[in-house]
């Protein structure tokens, strides 16, 4: 009987980076407990060798046509299949990555099992005094951190923020790989995925960019973003925007950086007219060097910035861009 069940995800037939991070999280919190990983899909017949090498004790393969692509967008089938597996193997803790899949499946699984659930955790540890699992998570849009302790429910579901742990996956494990029958547990669908539309953008992807230039409410309208585009292209970077700028309609929401937008981790992050509300900072906390241009010297962004200029961006930015071009 495993102590920990990790809900794995697959990228092109291999465990996703987040799956490796979950294994690291499990090992950190519970060094001596058995760990199982469950994978879902329509056909996992490739999996015995590839997945059996994971450094865990057990691997469960849950196959069903409706588990293809994780039942993306609907997520009914994975909830049903994982609930059946949990009832069978009765894990103390279930770990799921807070990906698009996990954010929808994790809480539903918890409620279906009558389990306790903690969202978006960046650290977990067993409290040596109580023996109970404590989790740390950002709250108030990242403005504060909270530590919660589970109260001893029979099962607890923990959603882990992607990137919060460093993957410790090494090959060479010898997990027991077994199939878990899902045929009888997946009922008629009540929702279906009709279409999936990608809306690709030209240029560097925000999430991958080494340099990001973002604008916020302080820009006052959509036109100044042309100057940000110019600067971004000089630095081979990408343009982003605060939620305020997107909600105002100045930029499409696909440019939004923040808690509910994209998470970025550039080497250089230049912000113009962004006050640095915690919900924005939650999306760029991995940026290594933040540069802020803002008229309010008291703005929160300067608490996080490495370099700052206080003043009128309309005068600062053109001179900055011209100098960057000449350097």
């Amino acid at each position: 009987m495993p102590g920990i069940l990790i809900v794995g995800e697959l990228n092109d037939g291999a465990p996703s980076p987040v799956t490796g991070q979950l294994i690291a999280a499990a090992r950190k919190a519970y060094p001596d407990v058995t760990v199982a990983v469950a994978f879902l899909g329509d056909d996992l017949s490739f999996g015995d060798a590839a997945l059996g090498a994971l450094p865990v004790d057990d691997v469960y393969l849950l196959e069903h046509p409706r588990l293809a692509d994780g039942d993306a967008g609907v997520f009914d089938a994975p909830v049903a299949a994982l609930a059946a597996l949990c009832r069978e193997i009765d894990p103390e803790t279930v770990l799921i990555g807070r990906t698009d899949f996990g954010a929808a499946v994790g809480p539903r699984l918890a409620f279906r099992l009558g389990a306790a659930v903690a969202q978006d955790c960046v650290d977990l540890a067993v409290n040596p005094e109580t023996g109970r699992l404590a989790v740390t998570r950002p709250v108030y849009g990242g403005g504060a951190m909270a530590v919660f302790e589970f109260g001893g429910a029979s099962t607890q579901v923990v959603l882990v923020r992607p990137g919060a742990f460093e993957s410790s996956v090494t090959d060479g494990g010898s997990a027991r790989v077994q199939k878990f029958d899902t045929e009888s547990v997946i009922s008629e669908p009540r929702a279906r995925l009709v279409d999936s539309v990608s809306e690709p953008r030209a240029g560097v992807r925000l999430e991958d960019a080494e340099v990001v230039v973002s604008g916020g409410r302080g820009l006052g309208g959509p036109e100044p973003f042309q100057q940000l585009e110019e600067l971004a292209s000089l630095l081979s970077g990408a343009v982003g925007a605060s939620r305020a700028a997107c909600d105002a309609g100045w930029m499409d929401h696909s440019f939004q950086v923040g808690l509910t937008g994209k998470s970025i981790s550039p080497r250089l992050y230049i912000t113009v007219g962004i006050s640095g509300a915690s919900q924005h900072m939650a999306g760029c906390s991995s940026a290594r060097n933040i540069v802020a241009i803002n008229k309010d010297g008291e703005a929160n962004i300067f608490k996080e910035a490495r370099y700052g200029v206080v003043g009128d961006w309309q005068k600062i930015l053109p001179a900055f861009i011209a100098t960057v071009r000449d350097l």
């Binding site: 951190m145 530590v147 060097n289």
Partner: protein, 266 residues
């Protein structure tokens, strides 16, 4: 058609970080004086979505009921969905509901929805800006046994189903779900409308309906947290900002570029 929209009263997330204070002993955020709470922003997106559904179903009767669970409600704040155009406001108001965990919130909210319903659609914001859990709507879907679509940016209602555009990282999905269903909305839906004078007048004449825990047959032991808050603190950034100054703003801009080059950042 009957639509339920679940909303939460939260501290204003636009509170400047300099005024954001935590009482670490009380494990609570201290509201700065003079800054009233607001209805959670994503919940207002859900209210807006419900109003749009009513507009597109012109000719059909659509009743929009807004529900909230909590205590210390500020009526001017909680009436905002009514002034936007919602029909009813139902509040479950009890001092024991001040700091519920997600499991307990779902119990109370599900009971209130059963008590007030049936509803064809339950709409929620994707997450609340205080605890950022994004858990209650999903738990509610489980408790009410409804199909659930998260992160909607638009919704169209047919006779017995809804078609939802769901936001994903690089695009969107189109999901069709049978009614009744639960849908959570994100800010990509677009800005909630501002109440007009007529709406504000209509809302001022409406009295919120209140439900007690007794009405819902919920006792204190049902509300025991499964997850206990043990520490709340503001993380230190530890970053020292180097302010670049010049003779004027343009000069500061030039010096910034030079400094970034010196630091090998550009």
């Amino acid at each position: 058609m009957r639509i339920a929209v679940c909303v939460k009263q939260v501290p204003d997330p636009e509170t400047p970080p300099s005024q954001f204070k935590i009482d670490e002993a009380a494990l609570a955020v201290v509201s700065p004086p003079g800054v009233p709470p607001v209805v959670n922003g994503f919940d207002l997106n859900a209210v807006e979505a419900a109003l749009r559904v009513r507009e597109t179903l012109a000719g059909q009767e659509v009743e929009i009921t807004v529900l909230s669970v909590g205590t210390g409600f500020v009526m001017d704040v909680m009436k905002r969905p009514l002034s936007m155009g919602a029909d009813r406001l139902v509040l479950v108001d009890d001092p024991s509901l001040a700091a519920l965990d997600a499991v307990a919130t779902v119990k109370v909210l599900a009971a209130a929805i059963r008590h007030t319903g049936p509803f064809d659609i339950v709409m929620c914001g994707r997450q609340a800006s205080d605890w950022d859990q994004a858990t209650v709507p999903l738990g509610l879907a489980e408790a009410l046994d409804l199909p659930c679509v998260t992160l909607a940016r638009s919704v169209q209602v047919q006779d017995s189903s809804v078609t939802v555009e769901r936001v994903i990282v690089d695009g969107h999905q189109v999901i069709e779900a049978q009614l009744p269903a639960l849908i959570t909305f994100s800010n990509e839906l677009g800005e909630p409308r501002y109440p007009n004078l007529r709406g504000i007048m209509a809302a001022s004449r409406k009295t919120p309906e209140t439900l007690t825990l007794e009405d819902l047959e919920i006792t204190a032991s049902d509300l025991e947290p499964a997850l206990k808050l043990t520490r709340l603190f503001v993380p230190e950034s530890g970053q020292e900002c180097e302010f670049i100054e010049g003779e004027d703003d343009a000069d500061a801009g030039r010096r910034l570029a030079v400094r970034l080059r010196e630091a090998k950042l550009i």
